[in-house]
């Protein structure tokens, strides 16, 4: 890590002609692009893996939307891809339908919105925004990606095995997932799911430890916790959530592996299946649900917090205004992080859990609505009297806030255990979490890509294609998920192959709406091609990026346009102010980067900031120690 360092006195803040007088020992192709320890390369690896997974996960959903939207349609033409999963009558196999639903959920939640989002941006932005050369441990960081890669390979292979991938829903509730005789997907497919998730958990723990250590230990001089961008705060909280909750999923999975393979009875009791009474007694399927949701609920915030953090940054930058209520934003994220651990059983109100527990979890769940509401109001107030530049990233961020509100409010309904009785496991729930967690996080991911693409690849993405992509996606997501509320209120259960068994013409009443949702989903999915093309084309052919394309305050824009290993060529800049000095009264420019000392801006300093000038010497004095720590 220390190779790219030099102790040249000059701070190359806006100087980007690379005079390669440092001792650069060139790494080979493999160490540079494949087994790289550079956080920026690892971030790009995560991003590209995430994008590929998103297309796989999305296309799975399109296949089952075809079944739901057009139940009479023959899918014979999918035979070349799906083979025997299309039965003789040209219909989708009923078990494969469940496999599609399961894999869509698993892929989107874990591989796209956890690895693709957190993996990409925590890796990319933490060192760049706190002023560090790299992660605390580049090697563990590399391992983290490659464990994720192994996990991906195993999960991907499970799509192609004869008995099909895991099919019991992404929550893989036992006994369905524990008994291969219950459905073919609970055989080898389930084993592979568990192996893959084990690798995934290891990967995300290594990532998480790294993020936490880096944020705590490697901040540049002057970068106190209260001067950190909200992105970093959100990545920090996300890593804490993951570190504390993923191990619980691992233990849940481990006990399931024991039940499946070694004859234990953690989750199994009094089962009679396929004409056979199993010997297992004393286990509890509810135990699994508690363990699963102890991760499962924090997982919602693991995918959402990074998106919210990046949105805070993007909305402030493009409104040319400080984020409203910086400390309230940190406080509400902290509140969400703590509360996220004590609301899990609201997924279990009607599982037969003690109703008293249901009351407790209803209270706790509705408390979490308060910090979430505060965040939404703060975003809206940040826009108020701003001077808004609609970059594609800004559009996606506004989209995120809208989705977050629209999906969030129905959480208040579902968190109420009495109302959850009727709505649990209906399309109302599908609508709720796709908006608040799926779409909102996806919009955060997209906003992040559009915003930091210039830093990642040194080139700009095409704005026009970005606008088109946004409008298709934004309108499309609402058209897909908003009507699902109605279907849920009409009592349609989720994970149904078809709705014939509802009787009373229930299916016919919503046949048109289901077709229409499927059409909207297909169009929205197809529109992602605008993004894919724009992304891959711009990597190679995009317009060259300027130093600071969005006139942003944070440190990543002080690095060279194409930062090398080590990020800054000279000393790492010091930080003197918070990251949100946009449109400060008295200042000539409408932004003052974090590395500009207060002594340089007497015209715009607030009275309390003038007192900060005295501390600048002390901050500068840390330079030697900081450099030494890297050269050690």
């Amino acid at each position: 890590m220390s190779t790219a360092l030099s102790t040249s006195e000059e701070i190359h803040t806006h100087d980007h002609d690379h005079d390669h007088d440092h001792e650069h020992h060139e790494l080979g192709f493999i160490r540079t692009y494949i087994f790289s320890e550079d956080h920026k390369t690892i971030a790009k690896q995560y991003l590209i893996s995430g994008i590929l997974w998103a297309f796989i996960g999305g296309s799975l959903s399109i296949i089952f939307r075809l079944q739901l939207g057009f139940p009479g349609m023959t899918l014979e033409w999918l035979k070349p891809i799906l083979g025997t999963w299309i039965d003789e009558s040209g219909k989708l196999d009923k078990e494969f339908y469940l496999a599609l639903v399961t894999m869509h959920g698993t892929i989107m939640v874990f591989f796209v919105l956890t690895a693709g989002l957190s993996g990409t941006f925590s890796n990319f932005l933490i060192p760049l925004q706190i002023g560090a050369r790299d992660m605390a441990s580049g090697f563990i960081n590399m391992l983290s990606y490659w464990f994720f890669f192994i996990s991906s390979v195993v999960m991907f292979s499970s799509l192609f095995i004869e008995t099909g991938p895991a099919s019991g829903g992404w929550v893989i509730y036992p006994p369905l997932s524990a008994l291969p005789q219950a459905m073919p997907g609970s055989g080898l497919g389930m084993t592979m799911w568990l192996i893959s998730m084990t690798f995934f958990i290891v990967s995300s723990l290594m990532g998480g430890i790294n993020y936490i250590c880096t944020v705590i230990n490697l901040r540049t001089r002057g970068m106190s916790f209260t001067k950190m961008p909200l992105t970093i705060w959100s990545f920090f909280f996300t890593a804490v959530l993951g570190l504390l909750s993923f191990p619980v999923l691992l233990s849940a999975a481990l006990l399931l592996i024991f039940d499946r393979s070694f004859g234990t009875s953690f989750y199994l009791s009094e089962i009679y299946i396929q004409g056979q009474a199993l010997p297992n007694v004393g286990g509890s399927p509810i135990l699994y649900q508690h363990l699963f949701w102890f991760l499962g609920h924090p997982e919602v915030y693991i995918v959402l917090l990074p998106a919210l953090g990046m949105t805070s940054e993007i909305i402030a930058t493009n409104s040319r205004k400080p984020i409203f209520g910086y400390r309230a934003m940190i406080g509400s994220m902290m509140g969400i992080t703590v509360l996220a651990f004590i609301v899990w059983a609201h997924h279990m109100f009607v599982t037969g859990m003690n109703p008293f527990l249901g009351s407790v979890f209803m209270f706790l769940t509705l408390i979490i609505a308060v910090p979430s509401a505060v965040k939404a109001f703060n975003y809206i107030t940040t826009l108020w009297r701003g001077n808004i530049v609609f970059t594609p990233a800004m559009l996606f961020s506004i989209g995120l806030v809208s989705m977050f509100i629209s999906g969030g409010v129905t959480g208040i309904i579902l968190g109420n255990s009495a109302l959850d009785i009727n709505l649990h496991d209906t399309y109302f729930v599908v609508a709720h979490f796709h908006l608040v967690m799926g779409a909102a996080s996806f919009f955060g991911l997209m906003a992040g890509v559009y915003h930091w693409f210039p830093k990642m690849f040194g080139r700009m993405m095409n704005k026009t294609l970005g606008y088109v992509h946004f409008w298709f996606t934004f309108v499309g997501v609402y058209l897909v998920f908003f009507p699902m509320h109605y279907i849920g209120i009409a009592g349609f259960p989720r994970r149904y192959y078809t709705f014939t068994a509802l009787g009373n013409d229930g299916m016919a009443a919503f046949a048109d709406m289901n077709s229409y949702i499927s059409i909207a989903a297909i169009i929205t999915f197809t529109a992602q091609a605008f993004f894919a093309f724009n992304f891959f084309y711009s990597i190679f052919k995009g317009k060259k990026a300027p130093q600071n394309p969005w006139n942003s305050n944070t440190l990543e824009w002080t690095t060279p346009i194409n930062p090398q290993h080590g990020n800054w060529e000279g000393d790492i800049p010091a930080v003197y102010r918070w990251p949100y000095d946009y449109s400060k009264p008295g200042a000539a420019a409408d932004f003052i980067p974090q590395n500009v000392p207060f002594s340089a801006t007497p015209e715009s300093n607030l009275p309390e900031e003038n007192e900060e000038i005295a501390k600048e010497k002390a901050i500068e004095g840390l330079l030697g120690a900081q450099n030494e720590s890297y050269n050690r």
């Binding site: 399927p285 309230a328 701003g386 208040i412 704005k463 606008y467």
Partner: protein, 359 residues
Amino acid sequence: MNFLIGLLSIVFFALSIAVISKSMKLNKKLSGEDEDEFALDSANNVNAIGMMLFWLFGTIGGVWSFLHSKPDFLPVAASEHGLKTDSMFWSSMAVVTFAFFISNTLLFYFAFKYRHNKNRKATFYPVNHKLELIWTVIPAIVMAILVFTGWRTWRDITSQAPSNAAVIELTGHQFGWYVRYAGADDSQLGHVNYKLIDETNNLGIDFTDKNSFDDFTATELHLPKGQPVLLKIRAQDVLHSVYLPFHRVKMDAVPGMPTKFWFTPNISTDEMRAKLGKPDFNFKLNCTEVCGRGHFGMSITVFVDEPADYKKWVAEQKPFLATNPSYLDKVPANLKAKASKYIPAEPIAADSTEAVSVK
């Protein structure tokens, strides 16, 4: 009805086309010119207008689609607690729709109103503690009210079933439901044991328990109107979930852990048919916990009868022991006499075991 698809697709496309064409124009205009980093081009304004258009069409589409779907929502709840949860649902929906509408409106309106203008500078407005306090406290109060009413309703729904409740057992299996009634003579269900399951006794009814002698099974669920019903719910193989959508009842069926739900149906099947003007309407029981291949088809019909009709129906049902007299073998000697009452006289008279026990 195709009109539905048509209309919304048009909205969808119109917006996109507007954006594309504007952007194209803009691209032409810009080519050759130096692109300002903050290109205060018409694209910025188009996107701002797009926000307002989205708000407008979204509002119209939201209201219209609600009114369009409303007739197809679940009809009035057919149970006493369902009426309460329904009214709470709609009042909570009113509150959250209000919050949803106001905050989305402000979001889109501010985005539009404060679009970039190079002659203006944004207001440096980093914090306002009073404002933050207000919008922390107001949601907290609203939540507290919602939680409190929700909690009271939940407490009532999950309270002990009244002692006069009709006890009915529902057992989920791949892929169907077994229904067992406590019988005409006692209101107690006999024990079941999963190890006793065989092809005929597919519930594993334990005939060493005298409560099981008068138990009978059914393929449909009959419920008495106006009388509390206690559902005792089991599962044999994997998780299932009892869902009575018209009664707003849902409870998982868990292997190894019996669950329960009690409620009072208050509209009979006939009354519901008359109310909806659908002579072939039937209440349904569906499965809402994914359980495998046949999950979506795991449904039985539910009849809510007037109390007198229900009594009559119960009286007509034959205990399991009566239709399967060979299970008398499983009854311990000291209870044989009691069990024999349920065995129809003629066909069994020849049975040697019975002869022995009588002597």
